[in-house]
Symmetry: C2
């Protein structure tokens, strides 16, 4: 197979696996269901990815990279706004289902140091992109300067984690826009004293 | 049995069940394991609680009420600070394990309207306590007055959800204090313009 074919095959596996994880959860995504969802044999799937864990982590990495791209251009709050819009944009797949799968692995993340290390490696890219964006914003004078960039980065990431959890639990999202406005304002500019 | 005995028995079941859910997760907390953890027969357990779901929701309600008490006196940020301290305070049981169980039911919350309604009923108490506290704080002049109390309530709840998720995933908590300071400041007082 040519590199193009390999890349396309890899994409086919990832897209099918993502839908499968979203629909059945991490534990429920059996090898048989992964075969059905990707339209490929287990041999073909695990030729590209060592095991289910690697497949899941590749999807998490994909997502972190996509988010990091948005962060670089528009900031982490925009990533959150995109998550709110997602249900409208995507058809067929429910974004909340995939977000929920991320929550379902929390026990594994907590108890399996190797899995946690592999996950952390992937999510580190998002943290780095967020920190770099904030540093650039500070240099441009758009960021508050009385709080450390590390604290602001953790703050934004904590809100993102809250939003992921909120959406994954199917809680109402329609009133979240003013909350994200507040989050953005907290990081960006100083308010006038009243 | 007297009411005191019934209350003590109920407490015994809840304490054992909480440890069992924390240790094995929602799905992993089988009836057999619940019997072991509580030291009681399934007959005795399900005399007090209709089913496993009711047991889990009673624990969630317990927790919401405990948090609502702290909120009334000290606010929702204090609830978050308590969560950070929890690992040190409790011995034997890991707070993150129970928090993780809450995440594991996210798929169920999303897909089972009846379960979601029962869960929402319980978490509503925390929202109400938070909103009431903020209204009192506003009346006392301690709260910013340019953002609606509903938005501030949702903001604090979103950060709490993020913190629960963060701790449940076993992510580092040691640098969270300045982040919570920032959250508190965002809600409470106006900053001077720079």
């Amino acid at each position: 197979m040519s590199q193009d074919h390999l890349d396309a095959r890899r994409r086919q596996i990832l897209d099918g696996a993502r839908a499968c994880f979203a629909r059945h959860g991490y534990e429920g995504a059996t090898v048989r269901r992964l075969e059905e969802a990707t339209g490929l044999s287990r041999g073909a799937i695990f030729h590209h990815f060592r095991d289910k864990e690697s497949l899941f982590l590749a999807l998490a990495e994909d997502e972190a990279l996509r988010m990091a791209d948005v962060v670089a251009e528009q900031g982490l709050v925009q990533v959150m706004r995109d998550l709110l819009d997602e249900p409208e944009k995507r058809t067929g797949e429910h974004a909340a289902d995939w977000l929920g799968t991320r929550l379902e692995v929390s026990r594994r993340l907590r108890t399996d140091p190797d899995f946690r290390a592999r996950w952390a490696e992937r999510s580190e890219q998002l943290t780095t992109a967020t920190r770099q964006r904030l540093i650039r914003q500070r240099e441009a004078g758009n960021l508050r300067d009385d709080v450390d960039v590390t604290v602001l980065t953790s703050f934004l990431e904590l809100v993102l984690e809250g939003l992921v959890s909120h959406l994954a639990m199917g809680l109402p999202a329609e009133n979240m826009e003013p909350v994200l406005d507040l989050v953005e304002e907290t990081v960006r500019r100083h308010r006038r004293s009243s």
